[in-house]
């Protein structure tokens, strides 16, 4: 069955359906079939982290997962970030701390940080912990400093 198959998946809380060949990655399916272009594709082979989304509550690289494998799962993309208390905290902090310039890598950073924040110690996040968590996401503009600050700030400002 190299032909397109139907894929039913819950994305950002909404039941969605689309068609994809087995070789289609989840990233391409989200962008091209579901028109959710917030997920960005950088390297397309698992190095840059830009395409990070959540599947079943775990951050994953959507270029390294086939769309057919996402059938029946719950996916969260950057478009669903505002529905989440940690997601809102991240949005505010990234804006306040100027944690993006061109913004291409930002969706991946946000979803990676979302997983970190959800599991974080209520006492707050240390910079080493943040740097390790985002070490798989490449940013060519910011030099990372403002991203680390934003994630730390978001970790201390949950709520609202």
């Amino acid at each position: 069955m190299a032909e397109p198959v139907r894929i039913d998946v819950v994305v950002n809380g909404e039941q969605r359906a689309g068609f994809a060949e087995p070789r289609t990655t989840l990233a391409d399916f989200l962008r091209e079939e579901l028109a959710l272009t917030g997920t960005h594709l950088g390297c397309e082979h698992g190095v840059c982290g830009a395409c990070t989304v959540m599947v079943g509550g775990d951050a994953v690289r959507s270029c390294l997962m086939l769309a057919v494998q996402a059938a029946g799962t719950q996916v969260t993309t950057v478009e669903g970030l505002a529905d989440d208390v940690h997601g809102r905290a991240l949005q505010r902090a990234f804006t306040a701390e100027h944690a993006l310039q061109c913004g291409f890598c930002t969706p991946g950073f946000l979803l990676t940080a979302l997983e970190l924040l959800r599991e974080a110690d209520p006492g707050g996040l240390g910079d080493d912990e943040i740097r390790e968590a985002i070490s798989g996401n490449l940013c060519r503009c910011t030099g990372y400093e403002n991203i680390v600050t934003a994630v730390r700030t978001a970790g201390g400002n949950i709520g609202g």
């Binding site: 087995p22 990655t25 698992g46 990070t52 994953v60 270029c63 997962m65 086939l66 997983e115 798989g136």
Partner: protein, 289 residues
């Protein structure tokens, strides 16, 4: 950067997977976590006719205690589970320590223990954990089930003794003896990179004397390198800084690593010396602690 077309099968049991492999032979490729294979597909270095996805085979996942004190890990168990599972933390401290060194969290959420072993990257951590802990893997094929010791599994760069119609189903790691410490250390340019060199060791001490040890080094050969000659010298000696240093020198002397863009052969030998020494000294503190 898009994979060539392939057919896709999603078996629900190991038996079904073996049947599909038996029918299609080398034209089929097993898909575990996909964190190494999917990039190869995207770059078209791999172009299988059929992808056999093991993610629907529930019987391949899970970590369980063995009666002898060891641990069995299903091949499709995610690498992330090695960080969080209390059984791994308590019984397999070497695997627990090595797991967070493997790539990044999003990769570990998908990547699998069995997938890493079957992929057999000579710089990967899991193969060294298997070698250092004297583990075995179970493989199932059309002729039945067989067990392979760590030393028999790895045959070269990205090459194992697994047949094209076999599925790696389980990893078994025996218990550590008393007074045994373990350590996994590596040198990387950036957190999450493949190690330039890494070392996983176990060390058993009785009243200061080394009675057993294993040393596995990654990034220096075409497979995880078991420094058996250095271990042979170490066992029976009183353990200390000098013995650890000698083991590092011995491990490095047995190697002929290659130079590449990341590191020269001489630097890899130097790192082997340093990292084996450090790992042994750390393991010694844990053995008596």
């Amino acid at each position: 950067m898009k994979a060539a077309p392939f057919e896709y099968a999603r078996p629900e049991t190991v038996g079904e997977a073996v049947d599909v492999l038996t029918e299609h032979g080398e034209e089929a490729k097993l898909l575990a976590g996909g964190q190494s294979l999917v990039p190869l597909l995207a770059l078209r270095f791999a172009q299988p006719r059929l992808l056999v996805d093991l993610n629907g085979v529930d019987e391949l996942s899970g970590i369980r205690a063995l009666d002898d004190g060891g641990v069995a890990i299903g091949a499709m168990t995610r690498t992330r589970a090695l960080e969080t599972d209390p059984l791994v933390r308590d019984r397999l401290p070497l695997a627990h320590e090595a797991a967070p060194l493997i790539a990044h969290r999003a990769i570990r959420n998908r990547g699998t223990v069995g997938g890493s072993l079957a992929h057999a990257d000579a710089a990967a951590e899991m193969p060294a954990v298997l070698v250092a802990l004297r583990g075995t893997v179970t493989a199932r094929g059309p002729a039945g089930v067989r067990k392979l010791a760590a030393g028999d599994l790895f045959r070269g760069h990205y090459t194992t003794a697994l047949e094209p119609d076999e599925v790696l189903t389980e990893v078994r790691l025996p218990p550590l003896g008393p007074n045994t410490g373990t350590a996994f250390v590596e040198h990387v340019r950036r957190h999450g990179d493949f190690a330039i060199v890494g070392a996983g060791v176990t060390l058993t001490l009785e009243q200061g004397r080394c009675t057993d040890a294993t040393i596995a080094v990654i990034g220096v050969a075409d497979r995880p390198f078991a420094a058996d000659a250095a271990v042979a010298v170490l066992v029976g000696q009183d353990f200390g800084e000098g013995a650890a240093h000698a083991a590092g020198v011995g491990a490095a002397a047995a190697l002929t690593p290659t130079s590449d863009v990341h590191a020269s052969a001489a630097y890899r030998k130097h790192l082997t010396e340093v990292l084996v020494r450090r790992a042994l000294l750390l393991a010694a503190r844990r053995a008596v602690g």
